[in-house]
Amino acid sequence: MKAVPRLDRRGFLSRTTVVGSAFLLASCERLSQSSWWRDVLEVAESWTRRSQRALLSRDRLAPEYAEADLSPAFKPNGSTDPDDPAYRKAATTGFADWRLEIGGLVERPASLSLAELRALPSRTQITRHDCVEGWSCIGKWKGVPLATVLRLVGLKPEARYVVFHCADSLEPALDGSGQYYESIDLFDAFHPQTILAYDMNDRPLPIPNGAPLRVRVERQLGYKMAKYVMRIEAVESFAAMKGGRGGYWEDRGYEWYAGI
């Protein structure tokens, strides 16, 4: 007498389990596309940023390594040879006529040649580069601390972010939205290891690794460390810039805070 309803319930539960799992998988796919669920998932980024910033003091240095730890070949990723005509022309003369523009919310906009950058006090560091894809390389970088350059031009009080505009575009687009750019806040901009590197492994930075100048932000992932930096702009907000999320990869769904 009791067996009949029990079996029915079991049958119902098994069917529910099978249909439920299939539904769950399909839902995950649909969820990934829906904007409200993306907003939910994205709260993790601010939890990570807040907690990691609470654990890091302003000047806490990322681990530095020995010459013996250097990668035999530092893997270039993303753009390896920008096809921008002005960049290519500058490359033919070894960037002798190239100048880094620094503007935006600064007191004294400047334009510095590679020789002028090299004349500024430098920092050399052997650090680990962690790609968002999962691999790591160790390289030796020499460059001028970004803080030195920012003090030279003087940030206006309302400046909150430093944006790097680059020569490379990973996605050809007429409106310039495919142009690489990145941004960091002042916490990282004034960190002692945040440098504008012009040498890699004791030689001028090779083109695949970002010649003539790339930024190093050692407490974050590789995509934050823009290569082929042409112009630095201090801004209050990047909301009105390109995709509005503060970087080429950020506009394509990646986290602006890439500490993990």
Partner: protein, 282 residues
């Protein structure tokens, strides 16, 4: 309970408190999402290394697709220098749309299915936070409520009975009556190992991959012998957790799926009391 069978008699007992049941199912959700989004992240660079940096020429494990001029493409998995043909599953597999694609793990097991590292990371870190919060809540509960001492710590008698318990498991003989009200010794030891060893190391290995965490706590990098080793450990532990889950589910199926499921949903578990065994509360 009106079915009057003389022996064995059936009795509903309360086995799992609410906190254990809720944290268990949140864990199921988290581990499923973490595993599948983790494989999506792994697929961005399907190779593992030891040490601080990637030795691209000598990975410990690599999944690749190979195309030779006169043959069909193959999926090759290399483990410690040994090559295995894993066409169709690892390195090269068919996607939901029927196309052959160069992929570490196949698309049916990754979240999202299509290649999308950015979205995979979003899922992974959201559920990592939920998993850690849920786990910490459980840990505090398990100590404060004495669940740990009462239900998870094996008794001296149980520890002496380990060989017998192994034999019982091999014969698929599961505890009945009074014995069924407690976790058996193998169950206790494996739960303790997962809760206090496997999962904490998993979380630490994950955090070690973060350049910010490696800066705040360089000890993490020492502990795992570098960031790439931490990534390898994270990967291996993921499969130990999968192994635990498979064995756990098999045990649930073998020892009475509906009874076990009911007890993890409502807390109530039916025990069959053997002849002559009187229930203490009756």
């Amino acid at each position: 309970m009106s079915a009057a069978r003389p022996s064995p008699s059936r009795r509903l007992v309360f086995r799992h408190p609410l906190v254990v049941r809720v944290t268990h199912w949140i864990n199921v959700l988290c581990l499923a999402c973490l595993l599948m989004s983790g494989l999506q992240i792994f697929n961005a660079h399907p190779a593992l290394y030891w040490g601080s940096r990637s030795n691209f020429d000598r990975p410990l494990l690599a999944m690749e697709a190979e195309q030779t001029p006169n043959a069909a493409p193959t999926g090759i998995t290399t483990v410690l220098g040994h090559r295995f043909d894993t066409t169709g599953t690892l390195g090269l597999s068919r996607t939901a749309t029927g196309q052959l694609a160069q992929l570490g793990f196949p698309d049916w097991i990754t979240l999202p299915a299509e290649r999308d590292l950015a979205t995979g990371r979003r899922w992974h870190f959201f559920f990592a936070w939920l998993f850690v919060a849920n786990g910490l809540f459980y840990l505090v509960y398990t100590v404060v409520s004495r669940h740990l001492r009462r239900d998870l710590a094996p008794t001296g008698g149980q520890l002496r009975g380990i060989p017998a318990s192994i034999l019982d498991h091999l014969r698929l003989r599961f505890p009945k009556g009074k014995e069924a009200r407690h976790y058996n010794v193998l169950q206790k030891l494996s739960y303790l190992a997962v809760i206090f060893v496997l999962l904490p190391i998993m979380v630490l290995a994950g955090l070690t991959m973060s350049p910010a965490m490696g800066t705040a706590f360089p000890e993490l990098l020492m502990l795992f012998d570098g960031r790439q080793s931490a990534r390898t450990v994270h990967f291996i532990l993921a499969f130990l957790i999968v192994t635990f889950t498979v064995v756990h589910v098999v045990m649930v199926l073998l020892s009475g799926v509906w009874n076990n499921l009911r007890s993890m949903v409502t807390g109530r578990y039916v025990i069959e009391e053997e002849k002559g065994e009187s229930s203490p509360s009756a």
